[in-house]
């Protein structure tokens, strides 16, 4: 890994964000709106539901964590789409940079983009709804890392599709996370799902992450085994994502879609 090249590619995206106030605003706007929306829903549920009684902020915390996953994946996809939209794709792929360095640069820059949006939104939730995501404590770090790995994995799978199928795959980029959300048991316990869907959803790290988040907030106990299981599943998906990305790149080279890719 050549860190100067990784920094170079990351810089390209940092310059893009730094030079555009609407882009910064866009990064902050959506997570903040989410916080407001789920904050009020959360407030209503805590007042009206026995399940959520005395556990202020479970839904809002889930919304923040889900948004973190959503933003990390979308950030990854967006950076790749930026190269296609700006017709810079060919320049990037003829530069002497390894695929692993491209993946590393996008991964590191995605966290930067994600945190720009999420930190202000998380801080707003404290005075506004009296809910702090930081109440989860140290396990929050592990939950975020696990979510981030899975978010990047989804980003990798979508960018693989973009490399393989070109810009027409763009719509899938936006839809990818909505497809997984119902199975992730983000806002409800896994028992709500039919049994056969529970089996499928347990194959995703999301269920384990959000079940553990509820476990911490409702029962005030931490199961590091559960967190480790989620991290392990996320990491396995990540390896799968990297393999698919490499295969898509080779496939695109065979089909000649890397040259002149653009809108």
């Amino acid at each position: 890994m050549n860190w100067s090249k990784i920094i170079g590619l990351s810089l390209r995206h940092v310059y893009l964000i730094k030079g555009s106030f609407p882009r910064i605003l866009d990064l902050i706007y959506w997570p903040t709106i989410q916080i407001f929306l789920w904050g009020f829903i959360s407030k209503f549920f805590t007042l009206s539901s026995s399940y959520y009684n005395n556990t202020v902020g479970i839904i809002l915390s889930a919304a923040i964590l889900y948004d973190f996953l959503f933003r990390s994946s979308i950030s990854y996809n967006m950076m790749f789409l930026e190269e296609i939209w700006s017709r810079n794709f060919t320049n990037l792929f003829i530069a002497p940079i390894k695929l692993s360095e491209i993946i590393a640069a996008l991964t590191f820059t995605a966290i930067f983009r994600t945190l720009i949006g999420l930190i202000p939104a998380s801080l707003i939730a404290i005075p506004l709804f009296g809910v702090s995501i930081f109440a989860i404590g140290l396990p929050l770090v592990f939950l975020l890392i696990t979510l981030y790995i899975f978010g990047v994995t989804l980003g990798l799978l979508v960018t693989s599709g973009l490399i393989r199928f070109g810009p027409s795959f763009e719509n899938i980029a936006w839809a990818s996370l909505f497809f997984l959300a119902p199975l992730g048991c983000i806002y409800y316990p896994i028992e709500i799902l039919p049994e056969w869907l529970q089996i499928i959803s347990k194959l995703l790290p999301l269920v384990h992450i959000f079940e553990e988040m509820r476990n911490i907030l409702i029962y005030d106990s931490v199961s590091y085994i559960q967190i480790f299981k989620a991290a392990l599943i996320s990491f396995m998906y990540f390896i799968f994502g990297v393999i698919i990305f490499f295969l898509s790149y080779e496939g695109a080279k065979n089909r000649g879609t890397l040259i002149n890719m653009g809108e």
Binding site: R12, Y15, L16, G19, N88, T90, F93, P96, I259, N260
Partner: protein
Amino acid sequence: MKLEIKNLSKKFKNILAVNDISFSIEKNKTLGLLGPNGCGKTTSIGMMLGLITPSNGKILIDNKTFNSSNRIEMLSLMNFASPYIELPKKLTVFENLNVYARLYGVENINQRIEEIVEDLNLKSFFKKKTGELSSGQKNRVSLAKSLINKPKLLFLDEPTASLDPDVGDFVREYLEKYKSKNELTILLASHNMKEVERLCDSVVMMKRGAIVDQGTCKMLIDKHGRNNLEDTFLKIARSNDELE
């Protein structure tokens, strides 16, 4: 750097885009790759840049086969400019050059950027966003990016397309000057025959994916009994298949 293309072919499903082409460019020489639209020039350049996997054949750079194991090493010695690909529009000229200098592993980045900015007269719009520049300015920035790593092998795809005669002449003159001072082999794909006559030591004519003729400009003009390269190009492009 010497570039040798040996029996290179590319088949996309049932379409033979490049059909068994072979040619070479000696170190410090310029070769023009000519042919009508859709004749396989871009696919050929794509293979030489490692963007397209050949179906058959070899690409040798200084007698070493260009393959995935030496891709990074080889790409760091090459570069490419084309008006059909762009640099990120929202980044300033400096930011774009800085990013690409890093990607190409350039040492003393600021010094190299200063040199190239001076050489290509980019100073007056150095801090402007690339998307705000005129075609001529964008073209010079694209050329600056393609020379940022002081490549030994440069691929140029219609470098003066859509430029006014003044800027076009500036680019041609700059390339001549740059070549006289630096070790550089150029493969130039162009539809501007006067440009090819001025810059190229030899030319390769392609049609329907295959090479139909090659040699120096004078050789081809004489061989086909025409007065200039443009007429020679037209004769070859419009000729029947028996020529091939």
